[in-house]
């Protein structure tokens, strides 16, 4: 039973398209995150939601829009995709009042923009 699941696992799309990545966690965590991992494996946080409220919004293009319909889901919508958006996007979750537990990560979505 997967704790943090992302779909799709792979996504190949053309420049200019709009796409969404979905994330769901069944751990009962109250906080979810989107991270971007570039080709050099560097992990950068993009967004964080706590109980459906946005708490971290790093400097990312406004073509990226997260949506959290409930605390178990955090989706990422990307408009007008660009070549530089190609990366692996990881969803993660945690319990905010238990920082020592760390994060649980999803398996990632490899986005390739052609």
């Amino acid at each position: 039973d997967t704790a943090v699941s992302q779909t799709p696992k792979y996504l190949v799309t053309q420049m200019g398209n709009d796409k969404s990545i979905k994330c769901e966690q069944n751990l009962g965590h109250d906080t979810m995150y989107w991270y971007k991992q570039d080709s050099k494996k560097f992990l950068k946080i993009m967004f964080s939601y706590n109980n459906k409220e946005l708490i971290i919004n790093e400097t990312v293009p406004n073509r990226f829009s997260p949506k959290s319909p409930d605390k178990a889901h955090l989706n990422l919508h990307i408009n007008s995709l660009e070549l530089g958006d190609s990366a692996v996007y990881f969803c993660a979750s945690s319990q905010l009042d238990r920082p020592n537990y760390g994060y649980t990560f999803g398996s990632g979505t490899r986005l390739t923009v052609v």
């Binding site: 906080t31 995150y33 050099k40 494996k41 560097f42 992990l43 946080i45 964080s48 706590n50 708490i55 971290i56 990881f90 993660a92 945690s94 319990q95 905010l96 009042d97 238990r98 920082p99 020592n100 760390g102 994060y103 649980t104 990560f105 999803g106 398996s107 990632g108």
Partner: protein
């Protein structure tokens, strides 16, 4: 702003060699410290963590790490590596009372030669 540095970008070892990966952070307050491992094509998995108590922590697969507060370090060690340890290793830090402020180091790629 707090940051995490990892000393080596790429480490290449032969099987049975000993491993030490360096990690330093720049924050003077109380922190939680983590090592995550990412096997090729997979998501990040928690290897071990420190949040209080014995500064020498043991994780899965024979890994251990030592927290040295005076040096702001949390180095990862394993006495004898295996080919299956080939992966990317990430050190991460969050502030003790702020679960959402999780910062990853740039990662160290470990290649173990059979």
């Amino acid at each position: 702003a707090q940051s995490v540095s990892q000393h080596n970008h790429h480490v290449i070892l032969s099987e049975a060699a000993s491993l030490e990966l360096g990690c330093n952070y720049s924050y003077g307050g109380t922190v939680n410290l983590f090592w995550y491992v990412q096997y090729p094509g997979q998501h990040l998995q928690l290897l071990l963590k420190y949040f209080s108590g014995d500064p020498l922590v043991k994780g899965i697969k024979g890994f251990e790490a030592e927290f040295i507060k005076s040096k702001f370090s949390f180095n990862l060690r394993k006495p004898s590596v295996q080919w299956s340890d080939t992966a990317e290793y990430f050190c991460a830090v969050n502030l003790h009372n702020y679960g959402q402020n999780f910062v990853f180091g740039p990662g160290t790629r470990l290649s173990v030669l059979p």
